[in-house]
Symmetry: C2
DNA sequence: CGGCTTCATATGTAATAACATATCAAACTC
DNA sequence: GAGTTTGATATGTTATTACATATGAAGCCG
């Protein structure tokens, strides 16, 4: 077999087999996957222990190919994979603030950048002497495609 | 014993004994506490099972008296306890966006609101049809009081 | 060059720690 | 007695530690 699994020609530096498997699973998923969900999916491929998953995830998140959703304890593939090209949000090289909008109905995740948000946080931080190393910004709610609520409530005031 | 422990005259609706104990521990703490750290602290007071802590925390967070930090799996007392009065951030009644700046050196947490951030998120959400139910916004980094880094690095280029 | 050591990185496996919830029964309040 | 709070046990889920092994590149020595 070839030196390493390059696996999906993402332009990514060659990933190892486990990393490629985990990233592949994340890319195919419609919703974020927990480490143990990944493990279940990848048992067929020979992965057996949580650590194999966590190690791959650590590398993938460090490379910006996957992201951890803190409010879910789960992971998604980066939405900008294959080339952040025409995209206003090159969070590879520069590290801009990534935000996630997570639909609690369908599980879908949108990854976005919003300059005003980033600027506002920068303002607060510098005026308070806080030096952020990482920012977690996750919106939980309902996406555009999902109807209001599965809840029964009296319509009146 | 009296009806319920009102415990600290916070103007809060009367808390149960366990809720008061948990809130008291959070208020005394210098840094966020995990549920199990709370449990350890409160064993002396008779609490014995995780569920007792989690039940209290659920109520306290619902009341806005405590907050969960998702990126830490830990909890803090609300910084605005005792009366959000002169404070520009009445996140009791109205639910404004709360943000947290968490120092990774000393563990200190600052709770803040920043209108530009909130507005920026609102803008993104409405233009994308996303209806947020809850927003998680946590800055991880170094606070004003903590020196740069405990790291040794060669100074040269 | 071929074989050896060395080093760095990636893997595999087991055990355990840390975080969170389910279930059910007793007690207390109204 | 209904509703709530509580307590105790058990279980489920997420993450890490510790240790052993594999793999491949680089440098050395015959
Ligand atoms: Zn991304
Ligand atoms: Zn949706
Ligand atoms: Zn607060
Ligand atoms: Zn600090």
């Amino acid at each position: 077999m070839a030196a390493h699994a390059r696996a999906h020609a993402h332009g990514a530096p060659d990933l190892t087999k486990n990393q490629a498997l985990v990233l592949g699973a994340l890319e195919k998923a419609e919703a974020p996957l927990s480490a143990y969900a990944l493990l279940d999916q990848l048992r067929a491929e020979g992965l057996r222990a949580p650590l194999q998953i966590y190690r791959a995830l650590e590398k993938l998140t460090a490379l910006g190919l996957a992201h951890r959703l803190e409010s879910l304890n789960a992971f998604v593939a980066c939405a900008h994979r294959g080339g952040h090209g025409g995209h206003a949000c090159p969070h590879d090289g520069a590290h801009r603030l990534m935000a996630f909008a997570i639909c609690e109905s369908c599980g879908g995740v949108e990854e976005f950048c919003e300059a005003a948000v980033e600027q506002g946080l920068k303002t607060w931080a510098s005026s308070h002497g806080f030096r952020p190393a990482k920012t977690v910004l996750e919106l939980r709610g309902l996406c555009a495609r999902c109807p209001a609520r599965p809840e029964a409530e009296t319509t009146g005031a």
